[in-house]
Symmetry: C2
């Protein structure tokens, strides 16, 4: 099944795929998840609806793929040689303006998740889990280098610490964190909790 | 203005006020913030709409007061003599079932905040800021006792660390954290970041 899907998807050039994802994100910004239709995506991208369903399976999957594509720099491209360097690179890979835009998109999707279980499943499988896997590898490198003790209890809570830093200002102030804020948070909270000295 | 409002509000007995807040929360659970009307609150509580507006000023203020009233135990009633004791008491003051209910309510309001600036303002002024003040006093007691260094950088991020613990499972799994989870998170992340030894 996966092979068939891959074979079919491979008919699209990477450029055409990127163009489709951009159109989906534009529509998402314009009308929000609930009002976004496959008809509108088909019209905007001059595709047939049948093609869209065959390639992605449905609206939830298409939207999540588009969001994931939108993250220009993936965590697994980051490898600076220290955990502090990796976390700082992660916090600064988007400038404050681009962060503002992607934060607004993610917020809209986070809201839609509560009334769309298929979106929640797609988001977890195709977005959260791959991100967590890349994150885990970043942390495992730090353990292998001896920066963090393998039995440090905070290792189980990496994602919670990062969400605390990235999502709190969005939740309380309806705006994303700045890079300066994130760097301070990483140095004051994440690294000390992991027992990494920052001085 | 505040004096007049207080004088007017004092006409309600605490029992009647509690009954009104319960009715507002029931309606909030049933229809959500956007569909909740002052007409429905008036009908449900056999009040006049004029009275509701006079007492609370509007729907946003009434809903936020009701939510705040719903937090049975306030942080400022907690004072165990140690920061670990205080944070653990905070994490366990609601049982898992009650946490589930209040988490669903808060999630609904968090979603409504994005399209209702008056709700965001009321929520910040009447909910977040009082909570943060009580939280600050808890931490200041720990500094005064010598448990935490007054210049510990993590002190600026208490609220972010706590949101990371309380909100991440709600965001990613659409369910609130359990008490066991919160206690582990506090011991693994919050106390080590503050330099408090837990062993």
């Amino acid at each position: 099944m996966t092979e068939v899907a891959t074979a079919r998807r491979s008919r699209l050039t990477p450029e055409r795929e990127a163009e489709l994802y951009e159109a989906v994100l534009d529509l998402l910004r314009e009308v929000g998840y609930d009002a976004l239709t496959m008809d509108a995506v088909a019209a905007r991208t001059r595709s047939s609806k049948a093609t869209l369903y065959r390639q992605w399976g449905g609206k939830a999957q298409l939207v999540v793929r588009a969001l994931r594509h939108n993250k220009q720099h993936r965590l697994d491209e980051i490898d600076t040689g220290s955990l502090r360097g990796d976390l700082h690179a992660m916090a600064t890979h988007e400038d404050d303006c681009s962060m503002e835009q992607s934060s607004a998109l993610m917020r809209g999707v986070a809201m839609a998740i509560h009334s769309n279980p298929d979106l929640r499943d797609a988001f977890r499988e195709q977005f959260v889990e791959p991100e967590m896997g890349e994150f885990r590898r970043m942390v495992e490198r730090a353990v292998a280098r001896g920066e963090v003790s393998a039995d440090c209890p905070a290792l189980d809570f990496m994602i919670h610490m990062m969400v605390g830093g990235f999502a709190t200002t969005a939740l309380l102030d309806d705006r994303p964190p700045t890079q300066d804020f994130l760097l301070s948070y990483i140095d004051a909270v994440v690294l000390p909790a992991l027992g990494v000295r920052t001085d």
